[in-house]
């Protein structure tokens, strides 16, 4: 087990470093600096600005500074657009918001998805099953940027029940639509995976034994069938969470929630490289760490995995 964790770390840490160096090179290669403008800046002023941001240093020095700054001090440097703010401040402002509705979305997707899938499998080939399958097929083709306008159309413009945007400190009626928009398609996939996995498990010998010795159905499901059913769901969690982190960009734009996605897109339009890089790296570290955790969890639960 420990050697497995060490081996996975041996892959994860270089990946993070590669990501940091890669984004640095992408930025370094960028034609036109962030301070190029329509109005030519006097060379002395330009030199001053470049000295302030360290752009006059040789390339390797810049890279070293950036990488060591990120790795050892979690310092992503100053923003190139907002001179009074650092990238860290931008992230500190947006990240808690993203994290809040991201966690709720993950929870919603897993709980509702698993419940739907289990219900469909237990009531196989009944109306419950068909409804659940119908919902999950329908929701699969509803990515977040389609869900967002549909939800706004129904609940804000149509019924007027929910506010159309903003965050308001995370009050529940502001959180609910972002969470649903973000999690629906993943909820659908989880429901599908749970259903087919549960159907397979219910056909296996140990479930027949459990039934044969007279356990009530509820106990068979909860004690015996659920754990093996959840294995494929756990391995799906990795890509699902990556997708939700990515999807948060759309949610931030559609609902103006003020998470990091909003800063990310604004910076993309303003060519604020340091903010884009900082957020890309943050998201990369999050994804890689999460995938690592999922893999370790999986290896821990499933005795068949060799490590």
């Amino acid at each position: 087990m420990y050697s497995y964790i060490v081996r996975r770390l041996a892959v994860a840490i270089p990946t993070i470093l590669i990501l940091i160096v890669l984004s640095f090179f992408l930025m370094y290669l960028a034609p036109g600096g962030p301070f190029n403008s329509e109005r030519p800046i006097p060379p002395e002023v330009m030199a001053n600005i470049e000295a302030k941001y360290g752009l006059d240093q040789p390339m390797w020095k810049q890279m070293l500074d950036y990488v060591t700054g990120v790795v050892f001090r979690f310092d992503f440097g100053p923003s190139f657009q907002y001179t009074d703010r650092t990238v860290n401040e931008v992230i500190a402002q947006g990240f808690p918001v993203t994290l809040t509705y991201g966690l709720w979305s993950a929870l919603f997707a897993v709980v509702v998805g698993v419940a739907l899938g289990v219900a469909a499998a237990i009531k196989h080939n009944t109306a419950v099953d068909y409804t659940a399958v119908g919902i999950s097929i329908g929701a699969q083709a509803l990515p977040n940027f389609v869900m967002a306008p549909i939800l706004l159309l129904i609940f804000t413009l149509g019924l007027g029940w929910l506010p159309g945007g903003g965050w308001n400190g995370g009050q529940w009626n502001y959180v609910i639509m972002p969470v649903i928009a973000l999690s629906t398609s993943y909820m659908a996939s989880i429901a599908r995976i749970t259903r087919s996995s549960m159907l397979e498990v219910l056909n296996s010998n140990f479930i027949r034994t459990a039934k044969a010795k007279g356990l009530p159905m509820r106990r068979v499901i909860l004690r015996h069938a659920l754990k093996p059913t959840l294995l494929p769901v756990i391995s799906y969690l990795g890509p699902a969470v990556v997708g939700m982190i990515t999807g948060s960009v759309v949610v931030d734009i559609a609902f103006s929630t003020g998470g990091i996605g909003q800063f990310f897109v604004n910076s993309a339009f303003n060519r604020d490289y340091s903010v884009i890089m900082g957020i890309t790296i943050l998201v990369g570290v999050l994804t890689i760490t999460f995938n690592l955790l999922v893999d370790i969890l999986y290896a821990w639960i499933d005795p068949k995995i060799r490590y």
């Binding site: 990946t15 890669l22 930025m27 097929i137 940027f145 159309l153 734009i253 990310f264 993309a268 994804t287």
Partner: protein, 303 residues
């Protein structure tokens, strides 16, 4: 199970054998949802290819007299020739939707094609050669897969400028990863079969074995996942275009049109959202159903 025996040229003996493909075809056409999906797909493709000939306006023609008056003078109607109404700039939404559908389909198909070519060869090579090469090649795929590509692609689009070429490059860069994994897994189960051993025994070079004996036997599963990749790529592109970072004006895609419709939702011009959304959804559904049908028909695992 019957993959490797059936794809060899069908035995033309006394009994007419059924090839894998004939078998799959029958199974596919028995699946009503898949056939319906296929029909919708053909209709959408016809719309994307020939729909432009029925448009009364060029997609980039701006009618200034309609600007700001869309809500009552730009409504969808047959008489004015704006079948789907006009967009926020007074452009004909029918022509724009045709254009957007075309671009979205193109992105999906190009992405899936890159995945098929690169992913299949990469996966077959890694799986067939095995050993340390396999380890390094698949670890590379693992590493690339754990990078949040959407963010890196947006970073690239910002740095190198937003163009269709960059978009295709970015989509090409990621689309082959999962295909490589699938192809490798399938190769591992094929490579110890007798017909490969026979080829090795008579001294066929390694590359020829991969191209002539391994890859054709991967085709079934590759086609299935390619069909499921197309909607994924369409979603991917539309995601970026929804943010305004993808396809640039005057070009458009369904994602960009959906975004345009969403922005105008408050102004009583819901057709701007409805028509692109409609074509987006039916295209996705059609691909999912056809993909599922193909999987039932071709994937040996699910029989």
């Amino acid at each position: 199970m019957s993959m490797q025996t059936d794809t060899a040229p069908a035995q033309m003996g006394e009994i007419q054998g059924r090839s894998l493909w004939a078998d799959a075809r029958t199974r596919f056409f028995r699946n009503k949802a898949a056939v319906a999906g296929l029909i919708v797909l053909i209709l959408v493709s016809l719309f994307a290819i020939f729909g432009g000939y029925f448009a009364k306006f060029e997609p980039d023609y701006v009618d200034f007299s309609l600007m700001g008056a869309q809500a009552y003078r730009g409504v969808p109607s047959i008489e004015t020739g704006h079948y789907f109404g006009v967009d926020i700039d007074g452009r004909d939404l029918y022509a724009r939707t045709v254009q957007g559908t075309r671009i979205s389909l193109l992105v999906g198909i190009v992405g899936a094609m890159v995945a098929v070519i690169v992913g299949t060869l990469y996966g077959a090579l890694a799986g067939y050669v095995g050993g340390r090469t396999d380890g390094i090649m698949m670890r590379t795929v693992d590493i690339l897969m754990s990078i949040p590509f959407m963010f890196v692609l947006i970073l690239m689009l910002v740095i190198f400028g937003r163009s269709i070429f960059m978009l295709f490059l970015g989509i090409g860069l990621i689309s082959w990863l999962s295909m490589a994994r699938i192809a490798r897994g399938q190769t591992l189960s094929i490579k110890n079969k007798e017909f490969v051993e026979a080829a090795v025994a008579i001294g066929v070079p390694r590359m020829t074995i991969i191209l002539r004996h391994i890859v054709p036997n991967l085709l079934g599963i590759v086609i299935v996942y390619a069909t499921l990749l197309v909607p994924e790529m369409i979603i991917f592109e539309s995601f970026i275009s929804y943010l305004g970072l993808g396809i640039q004006e005057p070009n458009t895609s369904l994602g960009a049109l959906i975004n345009g419709g969403t922005e105008q939702m408050n102004n009583g011009t819901l057709w701007m959202l409805f028509f692109p959304l409609f074509f987006f959804l039916i295209t996705l559904f059609a691909f999912f159903f056809v993909g599922d049908g193909l999987r039932d028909a071709l994937d040996p695992k699910d029989r």
